[in-house]
Subunit: 141 residues, 2 copies
């Protein structure tokens, strides 16, 4: 049984300073982490990221869409749960974008697109604990 | 001060039965509501919707993207808070997609795109209460 939960929502952006202005001054939000390519904001029960869209596209093994791109992430409790869930998603009409492997920033993940092309990252991130209700909190490594 | 919260995440889909198979059989999730054009799932702290993409595009006053479309929603506590937040987002680099008005399904909302084109609906929905931490739970009208 998979938790009905989103762990991370990532928007691909072309210019991080421009996005910071929108989210920090427009919404009035404060990031919990930021570097030269990504900002993370702790939202209600999940982490919201704005990531340079070329980096996001590379991570998804997918072309960067001109109008920006989006990745949804569902985190699971162990590395062993990643591939079986990805297999089930593909068997249910999804399309494999990237087979699961270990990214340089740690953990284990792959990507499956839903039938309309919306990308879902299925991930195990040992640094970000998952609450009982599926909520995820940003925990700097 | 705006809560750091997402209220609704809506994916535009071409075929609701095809999406149901992916989310219900693939992820194993159960919708809290569904009709001939939209399904809602209660996720951790927000509502996840899959909506026929032509309907979503019409609601956003925007063309349906060929690869599917996405709308993020930030709900506020009153109708009076909608326009000032939209104004601030536009002043911070956002682009007005649809000025705030009252949709037929109730409430009050408008749409602003972030600098990369990601659509944010700013909405007051009197039927969906907002918790202290900004979480939203689906409450059938």
């Amino acid at each position: 049984m998979t938790r009905q939960a989103l762990s991370v929502l990532t928007l691909g952006v072309a210019d991080l300073d421009r996005s910071r202005r929108f989210y920090k001054e427009g919404f009035g939000w404060t990031p919990v982490f930021g570097n030269e390519e990504i900002d993370f904001y702790q939202l209600n029960g999940f982490v919201f990221g704005t990531w340079l869209r070329d980096k996001l596209a590379e991570d998804m093994s997918r072309d960067a869409a001109p109008s920006g791109s989006v990745a949804l992430a569902h985190n699971v409790g162990s590395e062993e749960e990643v591939a079986p869930l990805m297999d089930r998603l593909v068997a249910s009409g999804g399309r494999l974008l990237r087979a699961a492997d270990a990214p340089v920033h740690g953990g284990f993940r792959g990507y499956v697109a839903d039938p309309d092309g919306h990308a879902w990252e299925i991930a195990h991130n040992p640094d970000w604990p998952i609450d009982e209700d599926g909520s995820v909190r940003f925990e700097p490594a």
